[in-house]
């Protein structure tokens, strides 16, 4: 068995994981679009036990002015965890991990957003993790895409996030916190389903070339499942109650 010593049985003899899931099953995902009063776009996402609130403002004026681009709008992302979101209380000040994740998510969304029409402005995406349980960056990215669409920011596609990984020598979909701690690999993916492009990709752990290829396939499949939920959340807000 790989990974750190643990009392948790990551995979039992029937192929069932520690939280009752099968190896190619994602956790339960629910998304609600348009939940905040002041933000121009917003979304609340529960991805397993992850609870994340995303707000989007913009396009709007950039301060300080020297940060603006005269040719295009810029995208700024902030991924932030509340002190009470994790097991041991976290200091509210941004950690290096949050800074890195903010950048990675920004670069995952950049290929999707079309900001040429808004030079000298910024679109600000704020992702607040209220409760964390492994895979927060994929969940935050997923919520951010919905919030951007809700705000009316032109996009080439939504970006859906889901992680694949390896635990107990088996390739699994959607790694939760326990599996991340004790498992052998964690591969978060951000994927544009209609353009079929991967825009977020990281790896923690060891995978041989065959496992890597399979993991990507599994992860993309997970992203496609998540995309259906993103779609549903926008349809629920904008297209129900319509006699069209």
């Amino acid at each position: 068995m790989g990974g750190r010593d643990t009392d948790i049985v990551l995979l039992d003899k029937n192929g069932i994981r520690s939280d009752g899931r099968k190896i190619n099953e994602t956790r339960k995902v629910t998304i609600k679009a348009g939940v905040l009063r002041n933000a121009q776009g917003s979304a609340y996402i529960e991805f397993g036990d992850n609870k994340i609130l995303v707000g989007v403002y913009g396009p709007r004026d950039v301060h300080p002015k020297h940060m603006s681009d005269t040719n295009t709008g810029i995208l700024r992302c902030r991924y932030h965890m509340s002190p009470f979101s994790v097991g041991e209380r976290k200091n509210p000040a941004p950690s290096r991990r949050e800074v890195e994740i903010s950048k990675v998510i920004q670069e995952a969304l950049l290929p999707a957003v079309i900001l040429k029409k808004f030079p000298r402005t910024a679109v600000d995406v704020y992702m607040e993790v209220l409760q964390a349980d492994g895979g927060t960056r994929c969940a935050a990215l997923t919520g951010a895409s919905v919030a951007l669409a809700d705000a009316g920011i032109p996009m080439r596609d939504l970006v859906a996030g889901c992680a694949a990984g390896k635990a107990a020598d088996t390739l699994i979909l959607d790694v939760n916190n326990e599996e991340d701690q004790a498992g052998q690999a964690d591969l978060p993916i951000g994927y544009m389903p209609n353009l079929e492009k991967i825009t977020l990709l990281q790896l923690d752990g060891i995978l041989n070339p065959e496992e890597f290829k399979k993991c990507i396939e599994i992860g993309i499949d997970g992203c496609k499942q998540v995309y259906e939920i993103q779609k549903k959340s926008l349809q629920e807000k904008y297209f129900t109650g319509d006699n069209n």
């Binding site: 705000a151 920011i153 032109p154 080439r156 904008y238 006699n243 069209n244």
Partner: protein, 226 residues
């Protein structure tokens, strides 16, 4: 001339494939035309566009907009026009060409918080849109109630040749000044008329893309106010 393929779309969804022109809120990817915003796709004469259900106001030349003064420099006022760009109202527009700067003069004419109805003179992307309030029906707004609706619903509120807005004004005896940027000012001597007019506006915003909206609004206006 077919107008019948209206479909709900979200960003990234493929509307059609083949020889079509990609118009507003769409993007061409290989031979696929995809939506870039949430809205209704509309195929008309080989061109494809999406009527948006989201999004803010994008300044256009000659648009009438309602704005709020938020600050000023020695030479101009900065105006919040509910858009991604702030509007700029030069002091010379109010004081005349021979104006010489003095901060106090600006403050006395238009203070922070004052509302104006203005026209966009120059919506050039490289600078903030230029505004003017010299002209008939333009200037400072002294009374009424400010209402905020999604800019994408303004055309529906105005209606074909003004039919919807006139119906609301006639049915309530209110005067409604509409800014293309989604800000409106509603005045009415009768407080019940004011309330009804605002409710009618909210109804249009809520049901902008429902087929029998005109009937629903007309019904609402005729019912006794509670």
């Amino acid at each position: 001339m077919s107008n019948d393929k209206k479909r709900h779309v979200i960003p990234g969804e493929i509307i059609v494939t083949g020889k079509y022109r990609a118009e507003q809120n769409t993007v061409l990817q290989d031979d696929k035309i995809m939506a870039t915003v949430i809205g209704l796709s509309d195929i008309h004469d080989e061109s494809v566009r999406v009527i948006p259900l989201t999004g803010g106001y994008y300044p256009k030349d000659d648009d009438m907009v309602i704005g709020k003064i938020v600050s000023h420099s020695a030479m101009s006022w900065e105006v919040d026009i509910n858009s991604c760009y702030a509007g700029m109202l030069p002091a010379s527009d109010v004081f005349g060409r021979g104006f010489s700067s003095s901060s106090n003069d600006l403050q006395s004419k238009l203070a922070n918080g004052d509302l104006i109805i203005a026209r966009i003179v120059n919506a050039d992307k490289t600078r903030d849109p230029l505004l003017t309030i010299s002209g008939r029906e333009l200037g400072k707004i002294d009374s009424g109630e400010l209402v905020n609706i999604s800019p994408s619903k303004v055309p529906r509120l105005i209606g074909k040749r003004g039919s919807m807005i006139q119906m609301i004004e006639n049915g309530t005896h209110a005067q409604i000044t509409i800014g293309q940027n989604g800000l409106l000012v509603v005045s009415c001597e009768d407080p019940d008329g004011l309330l009804k007019a605002i409710r009618a506006i909210e109804l249009v915003e809520e049901k902008a893309h429902v087929a029998n909206l005109t009937d629903q609004v007309s019904e609402m206006l005729e019912s006794k106010s509670d």
